[in-house]
Symmetry: C2
Subunit: 334 residues, 2 copies
């Protein structure tokens, strides 16, 4: 705060016109406003979002996750270039609430996508920072809308595959891609429970050289495993493939599968239904988040919760009664 | 309500003394009070719970789930009898917020456990009714504490495996058992996503007669699948077995696995840590539930939400702005 002064802002209408024309500079500056926590920027962001809303949504949104070391950046570089070659405009965003952008495991390190960063048909934006996952997810979600309004028709949203961000990304994308390595399951230790069940496609990356045989075995194992999963609401059966992003092998196949998926969910209506539900859910997530902030925002409540936690653990008060007590207190203070 | 008058109530101290002595009649009447929605009963219930709290917890809590038709009641009958034979006292509860007790798929139909119901060492209680899962889960959770205080050292909590109740049961038990049928995955259609990842053990039931071979194949498939799951925090690797509850085959093995699990989690400290976390989580679940009720309890809010949902779907307002709007409204009305 203190001496910090934001860049001079334009009028909302200037950002809006710029975005709708596909102006990358104005798009970037608008995203900066969306990410900003300044009160004046928040108002400006709302006006921009509100105006571009009808022009958003015309894209396929793909979530991409995998533990650090799986080769996400190399994959996105290869995948992005392939998409551009097919005439698409690709925006690449990321969600990583824990990141201080220091680890380089996520988009912050643009140099990992050397060629893609130089292409006009690709727009790469590192993760917004923020305290809460909800806050960061909002920012990424709204940035996605801006990118769509600017004409990007494929949105890739990256996460690191080790936290809760995956659920957030799954909640804002149409197709969920999980990158894996071969090695008979051990590498899954880094993947949180539940993430595999969200995947529409598993890509075993680094399937080259000595790794090819191992990757084939891993592919079969994952196929067998996915086979016994409950069927997804989309009607889609998740697929497993091998790829080498480094050698550009198996990249086209990933996009073909996305297209197969799109054909299916367009036909059975799931694409639209899911999008609607996601929008509604986005609203409710925000409502519940704000309710919690209203509650936990009180220093007095926080202090009392600490005491109650202790009492609950020591079986001096039942969890139900403890909750009732503090809710009574909350009611009396608001 | 109108003419409805509850049974005459005793003093809290009488229920408490009765429960601590293992009196089944007073235990039953106390659970009825815990399940009651009458204001006077709620106060009475709190006093009882508060008093027995230090005597609760001395049990192993096992969640049992599976789709209707998997043979849950037959399994529980066989499993319960086996436990009694080993000298245990077994309490059997259930969670089923959707049930009107009419479908007979859950404990309501006590006749399905013919022998067990007649045994003094078994206590069977059908599902509490209620509007919200949170409410029903509270009632079942508190009934569990009462059963423990009455000396039941094995608690079985049953669900139907098709809804969200499983997460609630998983959140209040030490060990989670998933009953399955053979048949190469198709029967899983009824099991909700995420349930398999919660399981500490999969038992393929009805593994008798012509089914034996199919069950063995299913067992191997599930083993392969579980193998690639991320490891559980408990350090336990889920096991798969086959059983025929009807012919009393494989029942002893289930208990042996529970004991193996208990040995592991006692040794690595997970048993205690998990119990503590569950208690704390129980409190927070109640807090969040009550916050939501505070919010959704307003007819005006409900009405406005309907309008906002429509506007969000039609992209006339962004989900983030919609949430902000209604939270402002909520703040101004409280």
């Amino acid at each position: 705060m203190g001496n910090y002064k934001p860049k001079k802002r334009l009028e909302a209408s200037e950002y809006i016109a710029g975005i709708l024309k596909g102006d990358r500079v104005l798009l970037s500056r608008a995203i900066t406003i969306v990410e900003s926590n300044l009160a004046t920027d928040k108002i400006l962001a709302k006006d921009i979002i509100q105006a571009i809303l009808p022009s958003s949504g015309n894209s396929i949104r793909i979530g991409i996750t995998g533990v650090p070391g799986v080769g996400k950046s190399t994959f996105i570089e290869a995948f992005g270039k392939h998409l551009i070659g097919l005439g698409h405009k690709v925006a690449i965003l990321s969600i990583d609430p824990s990141s201080q952008r220091s680890k380089g495991s996520i988009l912050g390190d643009k140099t990992r996508m050397e060629e893609l960063t130089t292409r006009q048909e690709a727009y790469i934006r590192p993760s917004a920072s923020g305290d809460t996952l909800g806050g960061v997810a909002n920012k990424t979600g709204e940035s996605m809308l801006l990118c769509e309004a600017a004409g990007y028709d494929v949105i890739l949203i990256e996460t690191v595959g080790v936290g809760q961000s995956e659920t957030a990304v799954h909640g804002m994308t149409d197709f969920f891609l999980l990158l894996m390595l071969s090695g008979a399951g051990d590498e899954l230790q880094g993947i949180k429970k539940g993430i595999m069940e969200m995947a529409d496609m598993l890509v075993i990356n680094k399937a080259d050289g000595d790794n090819i045989r191992k990757s084939q075995i891993a592919k079969r194992q994952y196929e067998n495993a996915l086979h016994i999963f409950p069927q997804s609401e989309s009607g889609w059966t998740p697929v497993v493939s091998t790829a080498s992003a480094l050698k550009n092998i198996g990249i086209a196949e990933v996009w073909e599968q996305v297209m197969e998926y799109k054909k299916l969910v367009d036909a059975n209506g799931y694409f639209k239904t899911n999008r609607k539900e996601q929008q509604i859910q986005w609203m409710y997530n925000n409502i519940h988040e704000e309710l919690k902030q209203l509650f936990y925002g009180s220093a007095h409540i926080k202090e009392h919760l600490k005491t109650l936690e202790k009492e609950v653990i020591e079986a001096r008060i039942s969890p139900v009664k403890a909750a009732e007590k503090i809710i009574q207190e909350f009611k009396s203070t608001i």
